[in-house]
Symmetry: C2
Subunit: 256 residues, 2 copies
DNA sequence: ACAAAAGTGTTAACCGTACACCCATGA
DNA sequence: TCATGGGTGTACGGTTAACACTTTTGT
């Protein structure tokens, strides 16, 4: 046994990975970030083929799939302590040859366990854009944010997975205040509104949005304003966990 | 190759199943029915051990997981053309020895692929109670409906799976008119209300419930009343697919 | 006739929506 | 000084929630 099969060299990984990982099962992560009023997704670029894909990986033989998702994300992008949310499992036997042709991963010379049919478990997470430093792993030429509407054609069915993740995120937004995870600890009301508008894909009334958010009683206005903007300085707010816990007990609707 | 690996005898299945099915991956189905104002779940009873479990099975090597769920359900319970809804994938490596001790399936004498760690993909479905005739397969002593609050201790983590399925069903009830699938084609308003109350676990105002349902404009009142009750005969209604399609276009909220 | 279930209508409170005015700031 | 973005308040309309009376039927 070695220390961490996820640190294997590409050659070893493709030749010996089946000794450590469950066959036919993979993990894919759709990581959302928010920057410049745009919703972004973190993608990896394969070395050699330079095709883009979701950060994904495999499940160790004795590993919980949720832990596998955490560990996969950390090893492939450097992102740690991210709360991942399982949303769907994709099990079409032809996932590997949709509209994009059959994909052979780079580095694979002979036959490999990796060329078998895979069922993939999809996770998404929301991260604070400015706080993370995406770092590509040994399989990847780069690790970059892509604006959600400008994502290139990805390998396998990964475009489908992104689409389904966004649908799941939109539904969640109605039940939980997930959006705050995308923002820095201090944020302005226009920033929060822009976030909601971007995720939901529709524009919202500025005044009503503010009222709704204040009424939820889960954020606190600080005695600070965001300086440096071109116009009137907006107030800063912070998400208040205690208030949120209280609000949950009372029952609360986050629908906009 | 044989015709249908799901028809193998138990002995062959445990000894040779790994030739046909993906290892480490299973399917479990939570089938909901509604009868006597109670929400029920369809369970199978193992031969030999007489322990109860969800109808579940495995994925053929070239089979879509959704097809695997359909086929599994049909072969194990006789239920056909049921719309199954994938809700969660369970991947704790210790699923097989939760509070109930490690479970050895019956018929397994020597080592078997079936004794490995399994990740299971959960599906649920709503069926019209009186329309189906549950039929146990060759592994099962019986196939019966259990009232959701009286389910016995099941094998593996199946109690957890049932709980999660119910949570998923409750959420769906707010977005889609899934409830109608549990009722016969003709039903009364009190029956429909009882169904909602049972699934949601709360009582509702009779008059407001009726108004809400009528306002959705997806059911039609018939010129018939349900006879045979002890009191005033209630009208019969039917779910109207055309109206439902129209309502969907306009946008519609099923929340109670 | 009476109890129990079913059909129907009215009201007030609440929430979502639409909309207008004033303030601060950099160009 | 002006254009732009930000902060705040009000009024209307629709929806929901609370609630009462009448009708039917078996006992």
């Amino acid at each position: 046994m070695i220390n961490d099969p996820r640190s294997l060299s590409p050659k070893e990984f493709f030749e010996k990975g089946h000794n450590y990982f469950l066959p036919h099962i993979s993990i894919d992560c759709v990581i959302f970030g928010f920057h410049d009023n745009q919703l972004k997704v973190l993608l990896l670029e394969w070395k050699d083929t330079h095709r883009w894909c979701l950060p994904g990986g495999f499940v160790l033989k004795g590993e919980d799939i949720n832990d596998a998702a955490d560990n996969t994300l950390r090893m492939r992008t450097g992102l740690q302590k991210i709360i991942l949310h399982q949303f769907h499992t994709f099990g079409d036997p032809n996932r590997d040859r949709g509209t994009h042709g059959h994909n052979t991963p780079p580095h694979v010379k002979g036959p490999s366990w990796i060329m078998e049919r895979f069922i993939t478990i999809g996770y998404w997470a929301l991260v604070e854009f400015s706080k993370v430093t995406p770092t590509p792993d040994q399989f990847s030429a780069s690790c970059q944010w892509w604006e959600i509407n400008s994502i290139p054609t990805l390998i396998l069915d990964h475009n489908v997975i992104v689409k389904k993740a966004l649908e799941s995120l939109r539904l969640q937004l109605n039940d939980y205040p997930v959006g705050f995870n995308l923002l820095p600890p201090k944020f302005t009301m226009p920033e929060l509104q822009s976030l909601y508008e971007t995720i939901l894909g529709e524009t919202l009334d500025r005044r009503n949005f503010q009222k709704k958010m204040i009424a939820l009683d889960i954020i606190t206005r600080l005695n600070e304003r965001k300086q440096g903007g071109a116009h009137k300085a907006p107030y800063l707010y912070k998400f208040d966990k205690k208030k949120y816990q209280n609000a949950l007990k009372k029952g609360i609707s986050f629908g906009i």
